[in-house]
């Protein structure tokens, strides 16, 4: 039942004081004919309605969330607390005397430079894909500034996130897809064939989406650079190397980070995230405006000469920045490094515990690994989707399904470092139970999950006869 169906004509929970000046009436020619039909409920009805809905949601606070490539680590409560401080929450983006906020942003920029080995950062992009788009615009501006105008192609491996080619396309580039090796690494021969005078950049996720660190990175960088292109780092998988290996030291020219993954800010049911972009000195001038710099009189905003311009109305998702910095300051250098290492330990431990599922990630993995249920499906008819739904009944969020695209019936696990050994042991036990059930009684999977408010929804119907808003 929607909130609209709970409406009763005349009810309101509006908490405002009475207007203490004379009412002014706008000329009727500007006014709408009918008031928008918004809910009419009392406060308690609203509270109960949305409290009930919150119970039909599943967050990191509810249980294990091994959603690969999403780094669903614990979101510390201290982050939330400091982000709610009045001196942060109630300041207007265009007011004066905001040195505290600007200092905070400046420190975060410095920390991110230190972690990635870059020379400068913008905190403006609102999400990872927004960061990718920002970086692609910078790459375009860079080549244009050198009058290197024929560089209109961006190379993307087929194991990449879908946002990569989509962002490059938004920036006006043509996409050259190259196949990956079976372990998701760059196919060096294909890369050599793909680069040329028209190469603007290569977009790379390292560790890749199979959880493998591509050891050819130095050679990859050489190939791209020698062809005159730039090397771009998708930071979705920074967690396992955070504070240990820096993209800037391994040949990357630009990076974006996902503060809502690596730096523990909550994902909010889909956002807001934050996707800062860092770059080497020679690209700094192209960063979006406004930027922050420190002068004798304190911090100030400025626009660099060759800036690609503004990506958002203001300075980015400020409250998210506060939370990320709070996390970094709390953990510190060793804390970040330890988190990275434990994320790798947890992933390898879980993988070992469920090695009866064939892994596409060979050798030691980084923070995540991919298993394929192709064989199981052939044998029993139980697909990756069915298996994932079964996991829900064991009180955990399923892993990422059917990604990366290069693995059939893929399930991608990323346990993160904040999960205990007991949680991993229990997950492994549950997965074993499900695996055995699949072999024994595959038809049981058709109705899973059984413990949820709804069973599997009809997605085909949703797309074929779209019902996107409540009827009036």
């Amino acid at each position: 039942m929607t909130i609209f169906e709970k409406s009763v004509e005349g009810r309101t929970a509006c908490p405002l004081s009475h207007c203490d000046v004379k009412e002014y009436k706008i000329s009727s020619s500007f006014l709408r004919e009918n008031a928008p039909k918004l809910p009419q409920v009392d406060e308690l009805t609203a509270i109960r309605h949305y409290t009930e809905l919150s119970k039909k949601a599943f967050g990191v606070d509810d249980g294990f969330y091994p959603l690969g490539s999403c780094t669903m680590k614990y979101n510390p409560k201290l982050n939330e607390k400091v982000a709610q401080l009045e001196g942060f929450m109630n300041i207007h983006p265009l007011q004066d005397e905001v040195q505290g906020a600007m200092k905070l942003m400046n420190i975060l920029e410095k920390r991110l430079c230190a972690i990635t080995g870059m020379d400068a950062f913008t905190l403006q992009p609102a999400a990872g894909a927004h960061g990718e788009f920002t970086a692609m615009l910078m790459i375009r501006a860079y080549h244009t500034s050198r009058n290197d105008l024929q560089r209109d192609k961006v190379i993307v491996p087929d194991s990449a996130h879908g946002t990569n080619p989509a962002s490059a396309n938004m920036a006006g580039f043509e996409i050259v897809n190259i196949p990956s090796t079976p372990d998701g690494c760059v196919d060096m021969e294909k890369l050599k064939e793909a680069v040329g005078e028209d190469t603007a950049a290569l977009m790379l996720t390292n560790p890749n989406t199979l959880g493998i660190f591509d050891k050819n990175i130095a050679e990859i960088a050489d190939i791209v650079h020698q062809a005159g292109g730039l090397l771009y780092y998708d930071g979705a998988n920074l967690n396992p190397i955070m504070g240990i290996i820096r993209p800037g030291d391994t040949g990357f020219d630009l990076v974006h980070l996902n503060l809502h993954k690596t730096f523990s800010t909550p994902h909010g049911g889909g956002g807001p995230g934050s996707g800062p972009v860092g770059c080497k000195k020679f690209l700094e001038d192209f960063l979006p405006a406004p930027r922050i710099r420190e002068t004798e009189d304190g911090f100030e905003f400025f626009k660099s000469e060759n800036s690609i311009g503004r990506m958002m109305t203001f300075y980015g998702n400020f409250a998210v920045l506060i939370k990320a910095l709070c996390y970094i300051e709390t953990l510190g250098r060793e804390g970040l490094r330890k988190s990275a290492k434990i994320s790798v330990l947890n992933a390898n431990y879980l993988r070992k515990k469920i090695e009866f599922l064939p892994s596409y990630t060979k050798g030691l993995c980084m923070h995540e690994f991919v298993v394929s249920l192709e064989e199981l499906k052939d044998k029993t008819g139980v697909a990756a989707m069915d298996f994932a739904k079964g996991m829900i009944d064991y009180g955990m969020h399923p892993p990422t399904m059917y990604f990366p695209l290069i693995v059939k019936e893929a399930l991608m696990f990323e346990p993160t470092e904040t999960e205990s050994k007991e949680t991993l042991d229990r997950a492994a036990w549950a997965i074993k139970e499900l695996y055995e059930l699949a072999l024994r009684s595959p038809e049981d999977f058709h109705n899973m999950p059984l413990s949820t408010p709804i069973t599997r929804p009809d997605e085909v119907k949703a797309a074929r006869t779209p019902e996107l808003i409540a009827e009036e």
């Binding site: 207007c19 709408r32 669903m72 001196g87 109630n90 207007h92 240990i244």
Partner: protein
Amino acid sequence: MFNYIPHTEKDISDMLAELNLSSLEELYSGLRSFQAQDIPIPEGKSQQLVDKEFNNLSKENKLYNSIFLGAGAYNHYIPAAVKSLASRQEFLTAYTPYQPEISQGILQVIFEFQSMIARLTGMDVANASVYDGSTALADAILMLSERKKNKVLLSRGIDPKTIEVLKTYLSPQNIEIDFIDLNLSGQTCLKSLNKKLDENVFAVAISQPNFYGIIERADQIGEKVKQSGSGFAIKANPISLALLKDGRECFADAVAGEGQPLGMSLSFGGPYLGFLASTKKYMRKLVGRIVGKTEDINGKESYVLTLQAREQHIRREKASSSICSNQAHCALTATLYMAVMGEKGMKEVASQCVSKAHYLAKEITKIDGYELKYKGEFFNEFVIKSKTKVDDIIKACKQNGILAGYKLSEDEILWCVTEMNDKKEMDFLVQILKEVGR
């Protein structure tokens, strides 16, 4: 040093033993040559100490007693119920609702959000949110683009910061941007629009109310644009839509906007909320997540992410946008705000904004040397031209704990009034202006 890792030393050694390893470093075997020597970051701190440090940092920002600054970010009352519900951890710590069976709550909230935005804007469909008001308008314009036309006309009444974002977004697409000036009333000039509206124009965009607070003749503009065969996009303040003509009444194809006034704190500019609604015609061209209603296998009402063939994870480079993470939690906040305020409350906020802004404008213009720049009807912002220097006004206000309006030039300020400003503080402001003017 504090950490959020539960592992004891014993856990670590047990787990390593399971892997036939003896140290954590071995997990990175073969990667030694890539490892950084030193990362110049300070050591970690206790939660208690970080708490204190951030407290101190927050105090380096000035908090004003009353705020008369808008210009894209608005100080509205946020009901306690909104904050309370929005902070529920199930909402806050969840990912994008990829698994509908355990995400019905989040999916239904988004469905309600889409519905409320559609009703407010008078459009047929709305998406689950985009980054902010400026990127929402950029998405709207790109959505209206056509292969054979390459020009967009932007009203000069659009926030200059938004225009900067539009330039950034549109620059790679070979789209020519031209502008329509404002007339003496501060409204988008219909004559200028007529002159520039040629067969090469695929879209016209305006802001309602515009950056200078003036209410546009959006219906007349929309009618003209429709006759010419191009698309029409409005960037609207959602609070104003409680009173002003909606998108349908103005012949709009798309209504975009900044949802921050719907329950979001000023928060130094973000996170805010981009909303985007359109007519049915553009349903399959809308960017970002969309939730639809369906049934589960038992016929039970259910919600799912739908029409995903538009999106990057399916279409890759052919997607309508690369957006993945959006501003979902802000959309939740807006939904809670509109539910709690309700139909009456939304109208009440809007009309208080209008009444109070007109009271202040009237009182200011009674002072010698202060006058309204534009004659047009305004919503809750207005431009005052004064003989007194703007810097002196801003300074005098600041000394009295008042955040003055937005400086447009040496003699013009854009003032903003919301339901938060009571008569007493407006009278106090007027008193200050009288004294500076002397």
